[in-house]
Amino acid sequence: MEPTTHHLYSLFHEISGYIYPNEIELHWKLLIVIYPYLTGLVAGAFILASLVKVFNVQQLKPTYRMSLLTALAFLIAAPLPLLAHLGHPEKSYEIFLTPNTTSAMAMFGFVYAWYLGAVLLLEIWLDYRRDLVLWARKEKGVKKWLHKALSLFSVDIYDKAVRFDKKFVKIITIIGIPSAFLLHGYVGFLFGSIKANPWWSSVLMPIVFLFSAIVSGIALMLIIYMIVTMMKERTVDRACLEKLASFMFYAMIVDFSLEILDFMHRIYESEESIKILAELVSGKLFVSLIVIQLLIGMIIPLMAIAGAKLFKIPFELKKIVYFVSALLVQFGIFSTRWNVVIGGQLFSKSFRGLTAYKMEFLGLEGLMVSLAIMILPLFILWFLFKVLPPWDDARNP
């Protein structure tokens, strides 16, 4: 393979101060920004679904199945950016065969498999089983067989069996919540446990990741719910939307507080790295951190939602406010991931200088592949909605 190093020469002009010579190139790029973004959406969507089952928030029921399928769609895509960024994806199975027990990254496969197999797929299957059987009875051709197969050819839909399903779903959800926390808290740990990097190294990292995940997941479900209902030409359930907006708001408040706490803590402690981090935040990260993450992705939507809740405004307008806020939140959370992953590599571990990141357009780690990976879950979701319609009226009475 031709080593591609010429693009690195142009980075020389972007360096300010002194960086170690091996630090010019960022080793975790856009793909690694996408990875925590996707898993965050998974965890968030799942936790929203749990609100219905475990905490019995009835208003959110219209989003329950949608959230589960969304979590699944994004979970399927989540390992792709990780795989694509490896220097040797073909050897990635070694992580399963000879995992290094002291490595957080080595645990990825196990956490992932657990979450996918033991939690998400099982919950979806149990929740849909009765409907699958009944759909299959009514249908013909491919669909009949598809649904039959998906129900794993079970036929028992008597009360007792269905009651069992319901109970079991609840148990799985209860296991699922810590699992979702694990899935995303773990991603935070990947970064938070790197003591060499003061931007990452923080015990708060997993928790901040978690709450930002919940925020992004709820925002995503709000967006999907509104788009899907509009596309199906149905009316948006008012109570449901209000609840979604409220929960998003609460999660944002917690997330915001945690981030502020982290920020204050760093400033108060003022460790050796504070100078270079201040330079980073006021310079190369200013737009993505202060403007997009904080202002556009957090403060504006917070105020907008609060305003919409406090003042009596028509529901039609409220819908727009919520929808736009949720979109802004998505941008904000994406920047959060960017600021962690890219931001954490822009400064030298000598704390004396900054390097730069120039995004490639083509190539495995370029923009196009990343966009494709981001869009993929939406296609998967569309397919899942076709096969397992999540709408209330598709349920069998």
């Binding site: 190093t5 170690y20 990635s92 790197i194």
Partner: protein, 299 residues
């Protein structure tokens, strides 16, 4: 822990070990890792398909190239491993001393390292490099290392008066508690009993996690192999009783290499005669590269 597991596997796998091993570390060879992998493929061809054991075993070969005799015993002690030239890792403990006051910044060490270890010549990949520090009257430190100092330094003038100036050679610190080893998901980075931290090129998946975890910027991803690389203390040389290339070429003997636990070793004398510092002490990595006359500005 991982390593012991690997070693055991290797030892139990008789088929790998019955032939008289060739001298793995060829005198012309500049990269032990590469030589090992050839061995690996030859010795373990069918075995590779033979489930995990062989995968483990191949890694052991990587780590302990061509053990002598160990395979004949029923349950040999993994600590009794011997490398090609009768080298037993457990009998050694390597360290390096660097006297900052002696370094003249000629960069011959960085150059020799690139030749010795086939490091890409582009200015982004270094197993060792030299930094120049110039402390100005206003207290500011100006640091640079153009091309790792391979072409030494220009005499570019600074506006402010310089009150202190010195050169600091850098390399992997062969940490006693290496974060790079801790985070490697597949165990491709490992610590040998003699204290040297190595990378198994055949195993490395190129995830770059170790690059993130190393506090010293001592690692890079090789642009061709797409695997992690770092200073090995010239492992292929030290197992034969030679010193690392950088130590060999240093005209002022600013670099000293030797055993940490043998009284006659030059490093023991070095530690006795100088005030010693290590880099980023607070991170508790316990470097085994020791600096004499370390300035507070050096990070």
């Amino acid at each position: 822990m991982m390593n012991n597991k690997i070693i055991n596997n290797k030892i139990n796998n008789k088929s790998l070990n019955t032939e008289k091993p060739e001298p793995i570390i060829d005198s012309a060879g500049c990269d032990s890792v590469r030589y090992d992998s050839e061995h690996n493929d030859a010795g373990c061809d069918a075995g590779r398909r033979n489930f995990v054991n062989c995968a483990l075993a191949s890694s052991a070969l990587m780590m302990v190239p061509g053990m002598l005799g160990a395979g004949e015993e029923e349950k040999p002690d993994p600590n009794e491993l011997v490398l090609g030239d009768g080298y037993r890792p457990k009998d050694h403990k390597w360290g390096m001393g660097i006297d900052i006051s002696k370094c003249i910044g000629c960069g011959r060490c960085a150059d020799a390292c690139k030749s010795e270890n086939d490091v890409p010549r582009e200015p982004f990949y270094f197993r060792t490099w030299v930094e120049r520090y110039r402390i100005l009257e206003n207290g500011e430190a100006v640091v640079d290392s153009p091309n790792g100092a391979i072409d030494s330094f220009d005499e570019d003038k600074l506006d402010e008066r310089i009150i202190r100036s010195f050169f600091v050679p850098k390399l992997c610190n062969q940490c006693e508690h290496p974060p790079c080893v801790q985070v490697c998901p597949v165990g491709a980075s490992y610590r040998v009993e003699d204290g040297v931290v190595l990378v198994d090129r055949d195993y490395c998946v190129g995830c770059s996690y170790c690059l993130q975890a190393c506090p010293y910027g001592a690692r890079f991803l090789h642009p061709e192999t797409r695997t992690a690389e770092k200073c090995t203390f010239c492992y292929h040389r030290i197992v034969k009783g030679l010193v690392p290339a950088c130590v060999e070429v240093c005209p002022t003997q600013a670099r000293i290499f030797g055993e940490m636990e043998k009284k006659s070793s030059p490093i023991i004398r070095f530690m006795r005669m100088n005030n010693i510092g290590v880099l980023k002490h607070s991170l508790n990595t316990e470097p085994k590269v020791f600096y004499a006359n370390l300035d507070k500005e050096v990070r």
